[in-house]
């Protein structure tokens, strides 16, 4: 919880603060099975107009982070602490009504499954109109006209007809386009796309991503793309943040993460990207085992149980000491006990093998 002084302190926007900055965010849920630490001290910042990809397996806390920004965690019964600064405004300290006013106008979100995310009982058009009227005092007719425009804009053919369709009457791709339209209808500053393509056919996925990035340019929106699939990140994102067990484990520019990843987990993710043109070599297996239970995280490095290289660390620090997220190069942070040289060596080997497999 934020105490009063800090909120006052945070009242006047400080110029040097980036567009979005999260400062040691903690999110926890009380379940019958105990306290779930979904997010354990995440801090990151994002400049206006850029696209950040948050990557990680399910349960790594990436979606929760998004919902924390949107202020949806409380309604899910979670506890949030830390600071979330959006455009010079601290969100976590605001009253529910104030956050509600920002939702859908300042910041918007696209969800994973467009089918279940659209209300089955209402026409898609009306659902978008509703979003408009929630924030702007314009007539229904005007709102509808705007909606139609938006539907066309997000590339829905025969929008005049589709505007009165029910979600179940649309294809998955169409639904997601509707979701995007709904999200952008109030031209928000920040757009969070939570696994926007996971529920869609591979063919559609590309289109949706394409759409998002073009719209981004157009609206000058800042985008957070949440995904478990490093594959789709490359062409979309400027920066990548890899999450594991509710923590950031590696942050850097997309190029860096692709050319010179250092965290073994990131390497695992990279090597498990499915590609048409290659067999995965026997000699290196992507990440084995299951993600850790958020209730009882292993001591030391959270990734250690699945890490192939923890034995290379002196006196088993991986088992006992929580590693810090430390800069290894400008704008490139890594959370790992391995010495930098060793990490780069491993990274190089793995990438050579992958490249070899390519031939």
């Amino acid at each position: 919880m934020i105490n009063v002084e800090e909120r006052e302190g945070s009242a006047e926007p400080s110029p040097e603060r980036p567009f979005l900055s999260i400062e040691n965010l903690f999110v926890s849920f009380n379940t019958e099975d105990g306290v779930v630490r979904a997010i354990d001290g995440v801090s990151l910042s994002l400049e206006r107009g850029r696209t950040l990809a948050v990557v990680g397996e399910s349960g790594s806390g990436k979606s929760v982070t998004a919902q924390a920004i949107m202020g949806l965690v409380r309604s899910m019964g979670g506890h949030v602490s830390g600071e979330i600064w959006l455009d010079g405004q601290e969100l976590n300290g605001l009253q529910p009504e104030e956050v509600q006013a920002l939702r859908g106008s300042e910041m918007a979100m696209i969800f994973q499954d467009p089918m279940s995310s659209l209300h089955p009982f209402y026409r898609v058009g009306d659902q978008i109109v509703e979003a408009i009227l929630a924030h702007r005092k314009i007539g229904k007719a005007a709102a509808r006209k705007e909606t139609l425009e938006m539907l066309k804009h997000v590339g829905i053919p025969a929008a005049e007809r589709r505007i009165d369709a029910y979600p179940h009457q649309l294809s998955g791709g169409m639904r997601q386009r509707v979701m995007i339209g709904m999200a952008l209808i109030n031209s928000p500053q920040l757009l969070i796309a939570d696994e926007p393509t996971t529920a869609l056919d591979v063919t559609v996925q590309a289109q949706i991503l394409e759409l998002i990035s073009t719209l981004k340019e157009e609206f000058g929106t800042t985008v957070i793309l949440i995904t478990h699939d490093l594959g789709i990140v490359a062409d979309v994102a400027d920066d990548v943040a890899v999450m594991y067990g509710g923590r950031l484990v590696e942050v850097g520019q997309t190029s860096t993460i692709y050319e010179a990843p250092e965290m073994p987990y990131t390497l695992g993710l990279l090597s498990s990207i499915p590609r048409m043109d290659r067999e995965l070599p026997k000699r290196l297996d992507p990440i084995r085992g299951n993600p850790p239970s958020p209730i009882n995280l292993p001591p030391g490095c959270v990734f250690q149980p699945r890490c192939n290289y923890s034995d290379r660390v002196a006196n088993g620090a991986c088992l006992s000491v929580r590693p810090e997220l430390l800069p290894t190069a400008p704008g490139h942070l890594v959370r790992c006990h391995l010495p930098a040289e060793e990490r780069q060596q491993i990274s190089a080997d793995v990438r050579r093998i992958l490249a070899g497999a390519q031939r």
């Binding site: 509600q100 006013a101 920002l102 009982f121 029910y166 709904m182």
Partner: protein
């Protein structure tokens, strides 16, 4: 939508035809030989023959069934070949030779009682169930929730006949808080006060179990939808919490309950049988029991037919309502 209605209606018609058949088959294998029962003590095989003829049991079953069905649409004449034929105008559900009246007359005389019992009970349990269920869901885990669920459990845990009997003995016979229930013709429009006094306990009796059931159902339904993605979307849109709850959550959550309610109308005659007997109400339930005890076949099958038809129609109506509310159904 139109197509859907047509489809379901046709389905209903088929169902009704099957129903007449089922009823006929079911009761043509009844134990006590009705001819024997109306025979009296000085009985001889020949008299049984005569009765069998009177009851038209001496013709082949197929033809019996034909007369049974055609009677419903065109009426029928019993004892056509005797000096005293019995006219039974359409819709003729048969003739009770034990009560010496047309089944339909008996049913129409009894129907209002059950109708008002059912309506009262239904309204009672739906309002109680929905209101308390929603409260419990919104106040999940708090004392309101606990209280409601506690009440629900009590209502759940005792058979309704037991609740009814205890109510009757305690409230009426022991504390004399209410007069003895007595249904008078013309109720409720005549003597509304007496009507309420008569029906109060029956309503409670018939509503208790369902009210409890619907409290739980509603609560779970509402909690269910609060976890739905589209509710999250509604929040993400920045809608007011009230709008989210009422327009997005409740509407979706309560719709299935409407269907369940339609189904539970099916149980109502069953409940009515017990309740009416406890409180001595001259409704269909009492009529049914009487007909069973006397194994008055025409009357039993008549009541079954009427009751089942009502339920089938009710189900159709509910489904159509559902289709209006939930667009997904229309295609399915």
């Amino acid at each position: 939508m139109a197509g859907y209605i047509v489809r379901r209606t046709l389905g209903m018609v088929v169902l009704l035809v099957l129903l007449t058949l089922a009823v006929f088959v079911l009761f043509s294998l009844m134990p006590a030989d009705p001819a024997r029962l109306t025979c009296g003590k000085a009985c001889s095989p020949q008299i049984i023959e005569n009765n069998r003829h009177r009851l038209e049991l001496d013709i082949p079953p197929v033809e019996q069934y034909q007369r049974f069905v055609s009677g419903i649409f065109f009426g029928r004449t019993y004892l056509a070949d005797t000096k005293r034929p019995l006219e039974c105008e359409a819709p003729c559900l048969g003739y009770s030779f034990l009560r010496n009246q047309e089944v339909l007359d008996l049913i129409t005389k009894a129907a209002p009682v059950t109708f008002w019992l059912a309506i009262g009970g239904f309204v009672t349990w739906m309002t109680v169930g929905l209101v308390f269920g929603i409260v419990a869901a919104l106040k999940r885990g708090r004392w309101q929730d606990r209280t409601v669920m506690g009440i629900a459990l009590v209502g759940y845990s005792l058979p309704s006949f037991f609740i009814g009997l205890v109510l009757y003995f305690f409230v009426i016979l022991f504390l004399h808080l209410l007069p003895n229930p007595q249904w008078k013709a013309g109720m409720p429009f005549k003597d509304l006060g007496g009507f309420v006094q008569t029906m109060l306990l029956p309503w409670i009796t018939i509503a208790t179990l369902n009210a409890a059931f619907y409290m739980r159902l509603t609560r779970n339904q509402v909690l269910e939808v609060f976890g739905e993605d589209y509710v999250r979307t509604a929040r993400a849109k920045g809608l007011k919490e009230r709008t989210v709850v009422v327009k997005h959550a409740l509407r979706a959550g309560l719709t299935p309950i409407v269907t369940a309610a339609g189904l539970d109308l099916a149980y109502l005659l069953g409940g009515a049988i017990i309740t009416e007997n406890i409180f001595n109400l001259p409704g269909l339930g009492s009529l049914a029991i009487g007909s069973v005890i006397a194994s008055d076949l025409p009357l039993i099958s008549g009541i079954t037919l009427i009751a089942a038809t009502l339920i089938i129609v009710a189900n159709l109506v509910v489904d159509l309502l559902y289709a209006v509310v939930d667009p997904r159904v229309r295609v399915g």
